[in-house]
Symmetry: C2
């Protein structure tokens, strides 16, 4: 399996106001209220039934415009290198992105979402409901992220200062 | 892009005590304390640096033994069909699994984890740190899952009654 390839295909596309990678908020938490649409292709639309009952969803998508794969990266919030798996940076092996967004409404195969930090046109790979009993934890320790104060994180997260 | 294929490859392998799909707990929350190892292949090991500071990680993996793709499924916790994207069932398009597990320790390219609900030998696609400010929400509404009482969810989640 080590050498085996896994083939995926987009199940939809994410539409957002973010056109410039350098101005895109780096996590949903810094994209509060930013609205967009998740379009699911016709073929996969029956899979969306019952999703509207959930207030939040995980979008899994493909960082199609990420720079080349890099195992050590300088995260947006810091000025030093970290292992890529200790960050959510796009230039990771397999380039899968994960964003927890707010689901506002479903209109057929279109999901209206908020807190969207994803580049316009990004290929969608999967949608998973956020389930309180599965996804929330009370005792989370966030490694190097814990040392970054809220003010700085917010400023950098919203791209209000150069990283 | 609709027809374009995306090619991924395993970056490691998940080792767990779960050998039988029908006895594997269905979410980490029902696999509390169950220990396992995440092996990251040598090539990708430098990406693990700094991960040990995080108490929890997201494992993204490939459901390599899932049944065929199905857009409507009967979730383990219920006796009626739901759209697959309103569930975390394995037989989804693109077959990507997501589990939030506890990181106990890192020994080089081996991660010792707990709360593991993944079948032994599953190919690993990505690891992301769980970051309190990004991943926790206080106002989560969990759709059809909210109607399932804790006792029943626990019994079925742990596979203590037939689904």
């Amino acid at each position: 399996m080590e050498s085996d390839q896994i083939r995926l295909r987009p199940i939809g596309r994410i539409h957002s106001p973010h056109r410039d990678p350098h101005k895109t908020p780096i996590q949903p938490v810094w994209a509060r209220g930013i609205a967009g649409r998740v379009e699911v292709f016709e073929t996969f639309a029956p899979g969306l039934e019952d999703l509207e009952g959930f207030s939040h969803i995980h979008l899994l998508y493909y960082f199609d415009r990420a720079d080349g794969e890099c195992l050590r990266v300088t995260p947006y919030l810091e000025d030093r290198e970290r292992g890529v798996f200790a960050t959510r940076a796009p230039s990771r092996p397999n380039r899968i992105g994960l964003s927890l967004v707010r689901l506002i409404a479903r209109e057929g195969r279109i999901l209206h979402v908020e807190d969207l930090d994803v580049l316009d046109g990004t290929p969608l790979l999967d949608i998973k409901p956020v389930i309180a009993r599965c996804d929330l934890r009370e005792d989370v320790r966030s490694g190097w992220q814990d040392a970054i104060d809220e003010k700085r994180a917010t400023r950098r997260g919203r791209r209000q200062e150069p990283c």
